[in-house]
């Protein structure tokens, strides 16, 4: 069995598929398998995949069912000790798997979390959004990994919950996925925060890789699925609901800093969606967001510290009245 399984899902990515695939197959570290799940592509994706002759590549096909379902399909077929994900139009630097494998070899973690790179829409390659938090983690945890018995474990976990939930940033022990039944929320986008929060809640040991191991491309040629003004934005609220409910049953929920970080992650995403969704949908979006909090365990709002900006929280607790633009 290989050390790593990398899973890429694709839906009509066309020529852009080569971005992810080339970068994975060019990795300097060799002990991995690569699963590409073709999520019902109707373009030439199947032909493009068939043209790649590499024994490490396995292609799975399914009728179009969405990103989460396709990733879950890949996980079901994974054979590696650790599973990681890469979107078709993103890439990994040549050194990524070697760096992840070294962290695994040195620390035997349940979850590896890596820095990344953001290739901005105007072409700037930049440290990923959560570079500052990785800096804080390097200070909290100079040895590069922490278990639950680490003297700063609570702060380390809280920082880790606050990292960008981005699927490409992590490798998760397959044993952990199997025993905990970790999955992406089928049928939904904005899926990463669910997986990220539950994987860290289940992890007994986390390793941090302070070198970038993925590049997330923003581009006009293929706008992010989540970057529209359409109804898909409501998915974020469904995923938020599922995340709040599931996380409330984990031990880390008892820690105010951890649950504050998870709530802050959810609210940040939801607020972004609330300001991007089409204007006629806004009042309904705000109302549903307030409903999600009303349905959640009351302790979610029992926040001991300043993990969540009170002004942000207010925008979710106060039901909209009047014209959405007035808010």
């Amino acid at each position: 069995m290989p050390l790593l399984t990398c899973i890429t899902t694709t839906h009509n990515d066309g020529a852009l598929l080569a971005t992810g695939v080339r970068s994975v197959l060019a990795q300097g570290f060799a002990d991995f398998e690569y699963i590409v799940v073709d999520d019902g592509s109707t373009d030439d994706t199947a032909d493009r995949l068939a043209a790649i002759a590499d024994p490490r590549l396995r292609v799975l096909r399914q009728a179009n069912a969405g990103l989460s379902s396709a990733r879950n399909r890949g996980v079901d077929h994974a054979r590696g000790d650790y599973v990681c994900f890469l979107d078709a139009d993103d890439s990994r630097p040549d050194w990524a798997f070697a760096a992840i494998a070294r962290a695994i070899g040195e620390h035997a973690p349940d979850v590896v979390l890596c820095r990344g790179v953001l290739r901005e829409i105007r072409g700037e390659p930049l440290p990923f959004y959560d570079s500052g938090r990785f800096g804080a983690l390097a200070d909290l945890c100079p040895e590069g990994a922490a278990g639950r018995d680490h003297p700063a474990a609570a702060r380390i976990w809280a920082e880790a919950y606050g990292l960008e939930p981005q699927a490409a940033s992590k490798a998760v022990a397959r044993a952990l996925i199997g025993t905990r039944g970790l999955r992406f929320p089928d049928g939904h986008y904005f899926e990463d925060v669910f997986f990220h929060s539950l994987a860290l809640a289940a992890a007994g040991r986390i390793a941090f890789v302070q070198t970038p191991c993925f590049t997330y491309f923003r581009r006009y040629a293929r706008p992010q699925i989540t970057a529209t003004a359409g109804e898909r934005r409501f998915d974020v609220l469904a995923v938020m609901r599922m995340t709040l409910d599931a996380f409330a049953l984990t031990p880390d929920f008892d820690d105010p800093a951890c649950r504050g970080a998870v709530l802050a992650s959810c609210l940040k995403l939801a607020e972004w969606c609330a300001t991007m969704i089409a204007r006629p949908q806004r009042a309904g979006f705000r109302a549903l967001a307030a409903t999600v909090l009303a349905l959640a365990d009351p302790r979610w709002l029992d926040l001991a510290d300043t993990a969540v900006d009170p002004a942000l929280l207010d925008r979710f607790l106060v039901l909209p009245g009047g014209h959405a633009d007035a808010r």
Partner: protein, 639 residues
């Protein structure tokens, strides 16, 4: 900002030959005055001897994390084998982790400063990095008399003693105010220290066949990139200390992914990356042309002035009857950059869209056939686009008035004296100055879509087209959509578009075409609501300006229906966009006679309906120019 990896030696330090490499086990033995430091990059962690100047060390590590790692990650895959050259290698903060992470590559390090070089050589020896070679040389411009063949041969053989002998000494200087900074040139005046270092003429680098270049060589950047023009380098990163010509990244051999920020100027970085759409890297300027024979040839010639092969012109002859298309075709028959496309007449919007459909370029612009872009304007804007990656970049503009003697009188635009422009952070660029202009400043100004260059992938992804049935004011919709989504627009103020004023202009006729402006704003409101815009204020401000501009010379028989339609649309926008959009605007600013009573009336009718955003779907015959012209849906005039 001081150069990375170029630490200050003791004053008067003599250039060294090949210093003693300090043999020994890792961690590297420190050279004199050097302290070990941990350097982590590309998945490697090394302990390196580093010169003691704290700032330079911090700066090197910052650059590694903020520039080099992201640039190489975004350029992946680099592949298992290649040749990297590191110009200004310092103590090896970039080259040595790179060499470790890419064992199949050869890494050539050039460092002129003796102290930094001593640390570099010690680090290579101490860590036993066999695929890194260090030379105590600067790299810079060549000169007549350089024996390039002999130097290249010594270089390819890694013959350091021969290179030390053959490489000509060149002048460098250090401003006392910038710790550790070293640049090419002779020292002049107070506070400048001169030094001489043996310098590899950049032309010799071709002998190494580099595929990756890391460049930190203040004031030698242009010479080095020019010398590499014929070498198929695949990746270039580093920093430059002033903007180099963008063509050095785009006209050169090979596919060169480039990320070269200008030190200390966050707005500018020369960048090049594969276009996933496979488009030609360049600019097509679409020139819609309907009976513009007196001007169109001058317009095309002005677009091409100062431009290379990257700039093309697509003249769309929109059913002209004065032979203007043929005239352009004849005049530019020998210039492959000029294309003429003939089509049936369907208006300016249709011609602009057609030209765009014919273009295969990454960037596009729309110039009017009767206008006169300033010399080098479009070539300069393409450079600005390549330095900012911006969705939209722009020049300034001026109005041109025909004089009785056949000459042209030029008047600067209102922007020249507008404090909002004067207060921007202008920075040197392309022989003039540039600054990013917030879209909000431009959204309420005059529609000036013709002095801009657009990214094609941006226009396509946002589905921004000219509405073809709108035969005047189509550029207003385009202006709002492009500026809102771009957010900020880099502007080169030394470049200017000449907007010719003459009596034949469509929008000065005062006829039914004024009603196109109304329909245009309804379409804009629908788009803005569906796309979830935040901040509709500029739409309303622009609506007021447009109403007043049209009112000023509207035909008398159209004034009453125009005021009534404008009032209904005002009320519709109030309901659909919401009160925040109207915060800075009063209905009293609309100068049309009859507007105020009409608005009162329609507000009364709408009161209590609360249709909200759905009101933007309400349409009216009174907003459609062809219907207005035909009198369809217009109640008979009283009496």
């Amino acid at each position: 900002m001081p150069a990375e990896d170029a630490p200050a030696p003791a004053p008067g330090a003599a250039p060294a030959g090949t210093p003693d490499a300090a043999p020994g086990a890792a961690p590297a033995a420190a050279a004199p005055g050097a302290a070990p430091v941990e350097v982590a990059a590309f998945g490697q962690r090394l302990r390196l001897a580093a010169p003691s100047a704290g700032f330079i060390l911090t700066d090197s590590l910052w650059r590694l994390r903020e520039i080099y790692e992201p640039a190489l990650a975004a350029a992946a895959p680099l592949g298992a084998a290649g040749v990297a050259i590191d110009i200004g290698a310092g103590f090896g903060a970039f080259a040595l982790p790179f060499a470790r992470a890419f064992p199949g590559w050869t890494v050539w390090c050039f460092e002129p400063d003796p102290a930094a070089f001593a640390a570099l050589a010690a680090n290579i020896a101490g860590l036993g990095i066999a695929n890194a070679l260090a030379l105590n040389l600067a790299v810079g411009a060549g000169a007549a008399g350089d024996d390039i063949a002999a130097i290249a041969s010594a270089l390819a053989g890694g013959d350091a003693p021969a290179l030390a002998r053959l490489a000509p000494p060149r002048s460098y200087r250090r401003p006392a105010s910038l710790q550790g900074y070293l640049e090419a040139g002779t020292a002049e005046g107070e506070g400048m220290t001169g030094q001489s270092f043996p310098t590899l003429p950049a032309a010799a680098l071709a002998a190494l066949a580099p595929t990756l270049v890391k460049l930190v060589a203040p004031r030698s950047e242009t010479a080095i990139l020019e010398a590499l023009a014929e070498v198929p380098v695949e990746v270039i990163t580093g920093e430059t200390w002033s903007p180099v010509a963008a063509g050095l990244a785009y006209r050169a051999a090979g596919w060169r992914q480039t990320w070269l920020p200008v030190a200390g100027v966050p707005a500018l970085a020369l960048r090049r990356a594969p276009d996933p759409g496979g488009r030609r890297e360049g600019l097509d300027v679409v020139v819609p042309c309907h009976n513009a024979r007196p001007w169109v040839e001058d317009c095309v010639a002005a677009i091409l002035e100062g431009a290379d092969e990257a700039v093309g012109v697509i003249v769309v002859d929109d059913g002209a009857t004065d032979g203007s298309g043929e005239a352009v075709a004849r005049r530019f028959a020998d210039d492959r950059r000029v294309r003429v496309h003939r089509k049936e007449n369907a208006g300016c919007a249709s011609a602009r869209n057609r030209g765009r459909m014919l273009s295969d370029a990454t960037h596009i612009a729309f110039a009017d056939a009767d206008d006169l872009p300033g010399p080098g304007m479009f070539a300069g804007l393409l450079d600005l686009a390549r330095y900012t990656g911006a969705e939209v970049v722009q020049a300034g503009f001026e109005t041109l008035w025909a004089e009785a003697d056949g000459g042209l009188r030029r008047e600067p635009s209102y922007e020249a004296t507008d404090w909002a422009f004067g207060n921007l952070a202008w920075t040197p660029f392309g022989g003039g100055e540039m600054a990013p202009v917030p879209a909000a400043v431009l959204l309420v100004g005059q529609p000036t879509i013709w002095r801009r260059v657009y990214r094609r992938d941006f226009l396509d992804a946002r589905a921004i087209w000219f509405p073809e049935h709108i035969r005047a004011f189509d550029d207003q919709l385009f202006q709002h959509l492009t500026l809102y989504h771009a957010g900020s627009v880099p502007m080169a103020r030394h470049l200017a578009y000449g907007y010719r004023q003459h009596p034949g202009q469509d929008i000065r006729q005062g006829d039914e075409r004024a009603f196109y402006a109304l329909e245009m704003f309804r379409l804009l409101a629908r788009r803005a609501l569906a796309e979830g815009w935040n901040g509709m204020g500029p739409i309303v401000r622009s609506y007021v300006n447009t109403l007043n501009w049209n009112w000023a010379n509207l035909r008398p028989d159209l004034q009453a229906p125009f005021a009534a339609a404008a009032a209904e649309l005002w009320a519709v926008l109030e309901g659909a966009l919401g009160p925040a959009a109207f915060a800075g605007v009063a209905a009293g600013e609309v100068r049309a006679t009859g507007f105020a009573p009409a608005l009162r009336q329609v507000r009364t009718r709408l009161a209590g309906r609360a249709a909200g955003e759905a009101l933007a779907f309400l349409d009216s015959c009174a907003l459609h120019t062809p219907l207005v012209r035909a009198g369809i849906g217009r109640p008979p005039a009283p009496g």
